[in-house]
Symmetry: D3
Subunit: 235 residues, 6 copies
Amino acid sequence: MSACTCEVCSCYKTYGVHDPRITQVDGTYYITYVAASKRTQRVGLVRTKDFRTVDEMPYVSEPDNKSATLFPKKIGGRYAMLERPSEGASIWISFSEDLVYWGQSTVVMTPRGGHWDCHRIGAACPPMEIQQGWLLIYYGEKSTSAGPLVRLGTAVLDRDDPSQVLARSNIPIISPREKYERIGDVGNVVFSCGAVMEDTDSVMLYYGASDSCICLGTCTLDGILEVCRKSQEGY
Amino acid sequence: MSACTCEVCSCYKTYGVHDPRITQVDGTYYITYVAASKRTQRVGLVRTKDFRTVDEMPYVSEPDNKSATLFPKKIGGRYAMLERPSEGASIWISFSEDLVYWGQSTVVMTPRGGHWDCHRIGAACPPMEIQQGWLLIYYGEKSTSAGPLVRLGTAVLDRDDPSQVLARSNIPIISPREKYERIGDVGNVVFSCGAVMEDTDSVMLYYGASDSCICLGTCTLDGILEVCRKSQEGY
Amino acid sequence: MSACTCEVCSCYKTYGVHDPRITQVDGTYYITYVAASKRTQRVGLVRTKDFRTVDEMPYVSEPDNKSATLFPKKIGGRYAMLERPSEGASIWISFSEDLVYWGQSTVVMTPRGGHWDCHRIGAACPPMEIQQGWLLIYYGEKSTSAGPLVRLGTAVLDRDDPSQVLARSNIPIISPREKYERIGDVGNVVFSCGAVMEDTDSVMLYYGASDSCICLGTCTLDGILEVCRKSQEGY
Amino acid sequence: MSACTCEVCSCYKTYGVHDPRITQVDGTYYITYVAASKRTQRVGLVRTKDFRTVDEMPYVSEPDNKSATLFPKKIGGRYAMLERPSEGASIWISFSEDLVYWGQSTVVMTPRGGHWDCHRIGAACPPMEIQQGWLLIYYGEKSTSAGPLVRLGTAVLDRDDPSQVLARSNIPIISPREKYERIGDVGNVVFSCGAVMEDTDSVMLYYGASDSCICLGTCTLDGILEVCRKSQEGY
Amino acid sequence: MSACTCEVCSCYKTYGVHDPRITQVDGTYYITYVAASKRTQRVGLVRTKDFRTVDEMPYVSEPDNKSATLFPKKIGGRYAMLERPSEGASIWISFSEDLVYWGQSTVVMTPRGGHWDCHRIGAACPPMEIQQGWLLIYYGEKSTSAGPLVRLGTAVLDRDDPSQVLARSNIPIISPREKYERIGDVGNVVFSCGAVMEDTDSVMLYYGASDSCICLGTCTLDGILEVCRKSQEGY
Amino acid sequence: MSACTCEVCSCYKTYGVHDPRITQVDGTYYITYVAASKRTQRVGLVRTKDFRTVDEMPYVSEPDNKSATLFPKKIGGRYAMLERPSEGASIWISFSEDLVYWGQSTVVMTPRGGHWDCHRIGAACPPMEIQQGWLLIYYGEKSTSAGPLVRLGTAVLDRDDPSQVLARSNIPIISPREKYERIGDVGNVVFSCGAVMEDTDSVMLYYGASDSCICLGTCTLDGILEVCRKSQEGY
C-alpha cells in the first residue's frame, strides 16, 4: 500500500541492485543501495538487526541519484545521508527525522578541475567518526582519453555541520597500480562501499578492483590524515 | 544558519527565478519556483499571506528538478507536491509533513510515445479540486524536426491517492494556432503556471504564448472533462 | 504465417504509419509507407485495385529506411524502388522480381555540400515517365541554425538505368515562402508524396506545408525541365 | 554492368574488408564480409569452390549493415542470412531465392537489458545444424564505463523457422579472462567468425582476442547446450 | 607560390564565402570574410581601392575562426582585428604589423550567462571611432528550446587598448520583432556586417533579417550610448 | 603590460602546462607548451639559454591549439612552427619573423582514413634536419571501440617548403606492445615530445608509455627512412 512496495516502484530494480553501504545507527543496520532499471537509478533503503530478516523501506531518493550512505549517528537530532543527485557529479547531503521524508539538501563537495577528482565524485564508505569530525573516503573520477580512472581519496567533514569540509586530500590514497586493479571487466578502477576502523589507528579498506575482484587494503588513520594535512598546506 | 540561506544556496539563483506556481493551503500562499544557475535548476519555495512580505523557505528539491507545484490541501495529513525530477521527463509526486522534509516519491505520469505528449511532460497549473478528484492541467512536448511543439492537456488524479491517474486527454486542450502563439522568442509554445476556476463550471487559463506575450483562454470544466472522457473511450 | 503478419512485425506500427506513395503498376495500385515505432522506421507495402479492399504485403525494407516509392513500370523486367536507407541521407534504388525479395541496391543521389539539398535528400513523389527518362521530384533538407529548411527540387533519371542521374536542379522548384508554409507545427517545410501529370505539359503537385495544411501547386513540365537544364549549364 | 562491379560500388571498400564468415551451401563456399568505407559499412558476398578463384557477387545489403552470415542449407527452399542492420543492435534474418534479391526480413534476437548481452549483439559464427535445430554462437556487448566488454554466447534457433529462438544462454560461454584477451589493441574483446564441429560432440571455436591475436577454444556440444538449458530453467 | 594561392588553400572556399566586413584603413578598403568548406571555416582577407580590382591576401586565421573585422586605424602602430576563434564563442583580438603575421591574441568579451548574449557572441560591424573610444556593434545568441535567438547589442572598447571593455549593453539594441525578422529561412535572427555613422550623431545600421531580407535601421549615437550607460548603472 | 602577462592570460594555465617541446634556434632554447584551463587549451612559449632563468613570451596561438613545436632553424628567413589547431585533427604550419606575430598558416598533413593515423595526428618531436629534408616523428590516433590507440610514425618534409610532405610511413615505428605500454593510467598510448639524433645514424626516442612511465627507444635513421621508402612504394 505504501509507495515502496507498489508495482510502479518494484520496476526500478529490473536491472538489479548494487553498491550497498551498511551503516549501524542506534543498534539497527541500514543498507542504502542503488536500484537500477532501464528507466533510471535511484537510492533504496532496507534495515535489519540480524542480517536474516530484512525490512524494505520507501525509496529515499527520486530518480537519477546514487552513491548514497547514511551517517552512523543522528546529527542535530536528524538522520543525515550523503548522496549524488543527477549529473551534477557532486556529493550532496540531505537530512531526515524519520528516514522517510528528506530535505534541506545542500552540496558538500564538487569535482576539482585539474585534480585527480576532476570529473565526478561520490561517497565511497559510510562516514567514520574520528576526533577531528567525520572521515569520508570518497571516489574521484578523472576522464582520460582511454576511459575513466577511478581512485579513492579522503576528506574530513565537520562533526556538527558535515556540509562543511575541513580538509580534503589533493592526491588519492589508493590508485590502480597492481595488475588486478589495472585489468578486469572495468579496468583502472578501485571502488569501495565500506571500511572498518578496528581500533583508534587502523583502517581496513575493502575495495573492488576492476569490477573483477575484491581486495583489502590497510593503512593507519594517521597516514590518511597526514595526506589531508599536507593538502591543506599546499603540497 | 539553515541550509536555505547559506551562501552555497544563494548561488542557485544566479540566472534568476522563473515559472512560479501559487497554491493557497490553509490560508497561506505558497509559491514554488525554479531557481536557475549555470550549475543546475532546482525547486525553491516561499510563502506569504499578503504578497507584501515574503518568507523564504529551504529548497524543496535537489538539483535538476523543475515544474513543481503544491496541492491546495493536505492529502492523508501530508503536503503533496508534483514535480519533474531530472531528465526522466515525467511527472512525479512527493509528500511531506512539514514542507521541509520530503519523501515517498513516486511517478505519476510518463510521456506517451506517438502522442502529443510524447517527449516531455510536467505540471502546468496547481491541481484544482473537482468532484471527480484533482484536475491537472499539464504541458506536453513533442520534439519535431523544427523544434519542440509545447501544448497543454489535462488529467484527472484520484482524490485520495493522486499518484493514480483516472483519466488523461489524448489530445491537447490548447495548441499554438494563433499568430502570437506560433511566432515569438520561443515559437510554437503555449505554457501555463496557473488557472482559475471561477465557479463550478468555468475555467480561466492564463498562459504564455511563444515566450513573448501573456494570454487568457476560457473554457468550461465540462468541456475539459469531455475531452478526458472521450480519450478513455478511445476516440 | 508469413513474416508480414507475425506479431513481431505488427509492433513496427505502434506509432502509426505515414508518408504513403501510390504507384500504379500493371493495373494494381501499390502503396509504400513508413511504419513507425519506438524501435525504428521501416518501409511497408500494400496493394489494392479499388481502394476498398487492401492486401498487406511483407515489409520491403529492414529497419531504418523510409521515403520509398515504386516506379510505375518494371525496368529490365524487374520492379524498381527508390528508398532512403539509414542515416546515409541519400536516395538509393533496389530491384525485385516479385516485390518480396529485393537486391542489387545502389546509390542514386547524395546530398550536395553548400547547396539547397546539402544535408538530407529523399524521393518525394513516385517517378513520372517523361520523354527524357524519369522525372523525380525529391525533397532536400538544409540544416540551419534555426532548424531544417525542407524544399522540393527535381532530377531526371535514365529510363533504362535509373541509378544514372541525367540532370538535377541546382535550385528548388518550391520553397517555403507563404505564411502557411513558414508557420505551423513544423515550420519551413514543404513536402510531397505525390504529383499528377494531367497531360503532356502540366504538373499538379500536392504538398504539405509546415505539417499543418495541404496545398496544390501547378507548373509546366517545361518549366521544371528548364530549371534542370540551366543547372546543367552552370547557372 | 551489374551493380556489384560498378564504380560506385567499389568505393564501399576504401577502408578494406573484414569479418568474413564462410558457409558451404550445396558444395559451394560463400563468404559474407563487411565492406568498410568513410561513407558506411555494408555486407558483401563472394563465392568460391576451391579458394583459388573467387567470384564477386552483388552486395547483399544496403548501407549500415554488418555481422552477416549465411545458413549452410536452404530453409523452406530459400537461402537464409543472419545480419545486423543499422543501429538497432539486433540480429535479423532475411531470405532469398537466388542470393541476389532478399526479403521478408524479421528480427531474431534483441539485446537484453541488465544481461551480458545488453547493448549490442550480432552473429559470430555461421549457424551449425544440430539435433535441436540451429546452434548459433553470437557476440554480445556490454558497455561499461571503461569501454565495451565483448563476449560470446549461444542460442538455439528453430530448424524450420530460425526466427524462433528456442533457447538462449544467460551467461557467456567465453569471456575475456586471460592476459591476451584482456590486453591488446582493442582490449576485453573475444570475437569469432567461425567454429568447427568436428564430430557430434566437439566444438572448436576459433576466436580473436583483443584484436591482437587468434585463439582456439574447445568445448563439447553438450556443455554448450547445458548452459542454454540452465538458462531456460532460470539459473 | 605563396600560401594564400596554393591549391590546398583554394579548397577552403568550396562552400562559398560569406559575412564580409569592409574596413577602410589608410585609404585602402580591406574586406575580411568567412571561407566555408566541408572541412572548416576560416577568415580570408582581400583589399581594393576601387571595388573593381581586388587583391587576394593570405588567410588571416587558422581553421575554425569567423566573425572577423579590422579596426579602421592602426592601434599602437599595429593593425588590429576582432575575431571569433573556435568554439569558445567569445570575441578575441589579434594584432599585426603587416596584415600577414598575427599575434598577441587575447580575449575581449565572453558570453554572459543569463543575459541576452549568453551562448555565443561575435563582432557584427567594424568598430567605429567615437569620442569615448571604439563603438562595437556585436551579435549575441541565446539558445532557446525553439532554436537560437540572435540579436544585436553594443560595447565601447578602450581607444588605445581595445581589449579593455569600457561599457557593454545589458539589453540588445535591436531584436527580432517585425514579421520579416521573425519569419524567414532562418527565423528570429537579426545580423549585421556593417553600419555607417553619417555625422556625429546618426547611426545607420544595415542588417539582415531571418536570412531572408536586408533592412536598414537608424538610431542616434546618443541613444546607443545611453543603453550602455544605463547598463553600467545596473538598470 | 604586454598581452602575455596580463591577468586574462594567466588564467589559461589554471589546469597546468604539459607537452613541452624544446627547440634550439640560434643558440637559444625555445619551449612550446600547452597551457590548459577549464576554458580551453592554447600554445605558450618560453625561452632560455641556460635552463635556470626562463623568459616568458606571448602566447603563440589562439584557443584550441596544441601539439606545437618550432623548427630548429629559420626557413626562408622566418621562424616556422608545426601545430594542431582546433578539432581539425591535422598538422598545420605557421610562420613568423619575430616569434610574436604568426601567419600564412597552411595544412601539412591530415589523418588518413583506414590507416593507423586515421582519426587524429600531431607533431610529436621537433623536426630534425636530415639529408632528405626534415624528419618529423608524429603521433597518430586510431579510435577503437575500446578507446584510442596512440602510436608514433614518421614523415619527411621538404627542407625549403616544409608544408610539402615528401614521404610518410604507412605503418607506425612504435606501437604499444610491452606490458607498460599497454597498461597504465591511459593505456595503449606511446607519445613523445622529443628525440635526439646522436650522430648521423642513431635516433634516441624518449617516449611516455600509458601516461605512467618514461621510456627510451633507439633505432637507426636508415631504419626509419626504410619504413617511409617502403610506404612510398606501396608496401
